[in-house]
């Protein structure tokens, strides 16, 4: 059985292409044009999407290191934002928190898998990256940080969030964020220093 339903389970009349205009190509209009109605998109949702989708994909990528997973995770987050829309006070903040949570779930699963498929996917991902990027040391070091430290680093130095806001996103105290950030930067500093320290006696 093919799951999920491939047709248009809605009875509305205004279609998605009408709402998103030029963002949808002809082929996509034909594919799902009748399957989404205006009442499915709360006011402001599409604006949030267009304002934040790309940025959130990049945040997810920086948190996971997986370009394949990042779009998937952000789509998951947007679906959840849609479902919770009526009770959201601050959609951008809620979205960011949802993305962080999706990334955490992704990491949890990966930690449990550690199988050949996973390794194979990793190998493929590495193969797909240009050689110049593979040797980006700082990027590699970022991957050695714990998930929490990586989250803090991305939110602080990429999203440029103040510590208090990071604490809110992560559901922790500002002091904890400070500590995580301090240790993360120290770890990265130390790693880089170790790499650049000349070996003695050779």
């Amino acid at each position: 059985m093919v799951e999920g339903g491939d047709g248009p389970p809605t009875t509305g009349t205004t279609t998605l292409p009408t709402l998103i205009g030029n963002h949808v190509g002809t082929h996509e209009q034909a594919r799902v044009g009748a399957s989404t109605t205006a009442d499915q998109w709360p006011p402001g949702y599409l604006r949030l999407y267009h304002d934040r989708y790309d940025a959130m994909v990049r945040v997810a990528y920086l948190m996971t290191g997986s370009d394949l997973a990042s779009e998937d995770l952000v789509q998951d987050a947007f679906v959840k934002v849609h479902r919770a829309w009526r009770r959201i006070d601050d959609p951008p903040a809620y979205l960011r928190q949802a993305v962080v949570n999706e990334c955490r779930s992704w990491h949890r699963t990966r930690l449990r898998r550690r199988d050949k498929v996973d390794q194979h996917a990793h190998d493929l991902a590495v193969d797909a990256i240009p050689a110049t990027q593979v040797h980006d040391e700082l990027w590699d070091r970022l991957g050695t940080l714990s998930q929490k430290r990586r989250e803090v680093v991305v939110l602080r130095f990429y999203e440029d969030l103040p510590l208090a806001e990071i604490a809110e996103v992560l559901g922790t105290k500002v002091g904890t964020v400070k500590s995580l950030l301090h240790r993360a930067v120290k770890q990265l500093e130390q790693d880089l220093r170790d790499d650049t320290t000349p070996e003695v006696g050779r």
């Binding site: 190509g25 009748a34 990966r110 930067v185």
Partner: protein
């Protein structure tokens, strides 16, 4: 804290963020699909169902249609090492690559007969019934039946067999099962959950609406299973103004028509304030009773769950505590365990539960899915158990970059899905035949205006073959 280091980190993050090129337009369409149609994975992942019921095993996989080459369908046996004993503990995988074997042959189906998008299949002896949908423009679709009386060697197409009685021209069929020679299919007609029943091998069908939807609500039946005690259960969802709720229907009329009752929805399926539930699949437990699978949506967490019932009336929900943030994308119900596939953004993991879904343990550690002569990026997309052997279906990228449809088999198994195809896709369904044969049903050109059924035939591994040597 070193400002210089911070600057380097910031510069690195901004530079690396350019590694990804988000496809926002396409993504929004996929989100729309999921919000409205309940699809669970949008860009890279497609749902998969593994379902074995009443002696007929059915599975579905979705692969890339645009590159599917029926004459290149391959069978690979990865030599999977199964979990030992009955502990359910994970054991090591194999270091040996799969052996590619020939054996699957395409069955020619003329273009007019093949027209449509198959979604499910069931076999009763040599009679095979495939149900699907014909898409007609943007807003119209109607169910279609294909049937074969010679184990898939030849086919007839019955475009009018599943009557809908709905003037809107919008109807779909998602699943079919057979028990005691009676075929039952489920879907919806104009947004009303419907069951179609055939007593003559799929030639003629009676149409029955399923009860329970309130006025103006859309209801969809997505899966159906019949038990040996005469009970039949259908599961699906109802789309209400305040969200979606899972739906269960029961008929205890045996092989007769009628007797369908709604077994309620949110009262026993949602235990969170803002929860939503969708039920995707139902199966019969070999020892009696039913198992459904789906997921609940609470706050910003997705909660995979199974539902268990002895009689189809009273249901209990089981949420694996270690499944937070995951979905169960396919469950095979066995006598003493559930074998499930959970999928995340990076791949799939197979898990086993021996306590009806309350807890899950990883199942196996690794599989090499590529043939010895090369290939990359394997994708497992479907799971079915046939005669004690599991079959996974999916695809991998050939050396030339095209995706090649593939089937993997092993003794105790799992499956997965993974795809990044932007539009085209192919569903592959595996059906066991009584003579030891196996049929694969696929879709060519899904997502395009014209879709067609594809059929391959193969043979199950004989006893004593690779399956029993794992």
């Amino acid at each position: 804290m070193s400002t210089r280091t911070e600057d380097r980190i910031s510069a690195m993050l901004h530079a690396r963020s350019a590694d990804v090129t988000p496809q926002a337009d396409e993504a929004l369409l996929r989100i729309a699909d999921r919000v409205v149609a309940g699809r669970r994975r949008a860009r890279y992942w497609r749902p998969v169902v593994g379902l074995a019921a009443a002696g007929t095993a059915v599975a579905v996989a979705i692969t890339a249609a645009s590159v599917l080459q029926p004459d290149r369908l391959e069978v690979a046996d990865p030599g999977f090492v199964s979990p030992g004993g009955t502990t359910g503990e994970a054991t090591g995988g194999t270091a040996q690559g799969p052996e590619v074997r020939e054996g699957w042959q395409p069955i020619a189906v003329d273009e007019a007969t093949a027209l449509g998008r198959p979604t499910a299949a069931a076999a009763d002896g040599s009679t095979v019934v495939v149900v699907g949908t014909v898409d007609e423009g943007e807003a119209s679709s109607r169910p279609v039946v294909w049937r074969s009386e010679d184990a898939g060697a030849s086919w007839e197409r019955l475009p009018e067999a599943l009557a809908t009685g709905d003037p809107s021209g919008w109807a779909e069929v998602f699943d079919v099962t057979v028990h005691d020679g009676v075929f039952r299919a489920v879907g919806h007609a104009g947004g009303a959950a419907t069951v179609w029943t055939s007593f003559d091998g799929g030639v003629t069908w009676a149409t029955e609406p399923l009860p329970g939807a309130r006025a103006g609500e859309t209801s969809i039946a997505r899966s159906i299973a019949s038990a040996s005690d005469g009970r039949t259960v259908a599961v699906g969802e109802m789309l209400r103004a305040d969200g979606r709720v899972g739906a269960i229907w029961l008929s205890d009329s045996g092989s007769a028509l009628g007797g369908w009752t709604s077994q309620g929805t949110e009262a026993h399926l949602v235990d969170t304030e803002d929860g939503e539930v969708v039920l995707y699949e139902v199966d019969v437990r070999p020892t009696g009773g039913f198992v459904a699978r789906g997921y609940g949506q609470a706050s910003i967490s997705s909660l995979a769950a199974t539902w268990d019932s002895v009689d189809g009336r009273e249901w209990s929900m089981h949420r694996g505590e270690n499944l937070a943030g995951q979905n169960l994308d396919g469950v095979v119900v066995e006598t003493d365990r559930l074998v499930a596939v959970s999928v995340d953004g990076s791949g799939a993991m197979v898990q086993v539960s021996r306590d009806r879904g309350d807890s899950w343990q990883p199942f196996g550690e690794g599989m090499d899915l590529l043939p010895a002569d090369g290939g990359s990026n394997p994708r497992l997309e479907g799971l079915v158990e046939i005669a004690g052997r599991y079959y996974g279906s999916g695809s991998y990228a050939s050396a030339g970059g095209e995706r090649v449809a593939a089937v993997w088999s092993w003794r105790d198994g799992w499956t997965s899905i993974d795809r990044d195809d932007p539009g085209g896709q192919t569903g592959v369904e595996i059906v066991a035949l009584p003579d030891g044969g196996v049929l694969l049903i696929g879709v060519e050109g899904f997502g395009t205006p014209v879709t067609r059924m594809l059929v391959w035939t193969g043979q199950q591994d004989p006893p004593g073959g690779p399956a029993s040597q794992g």
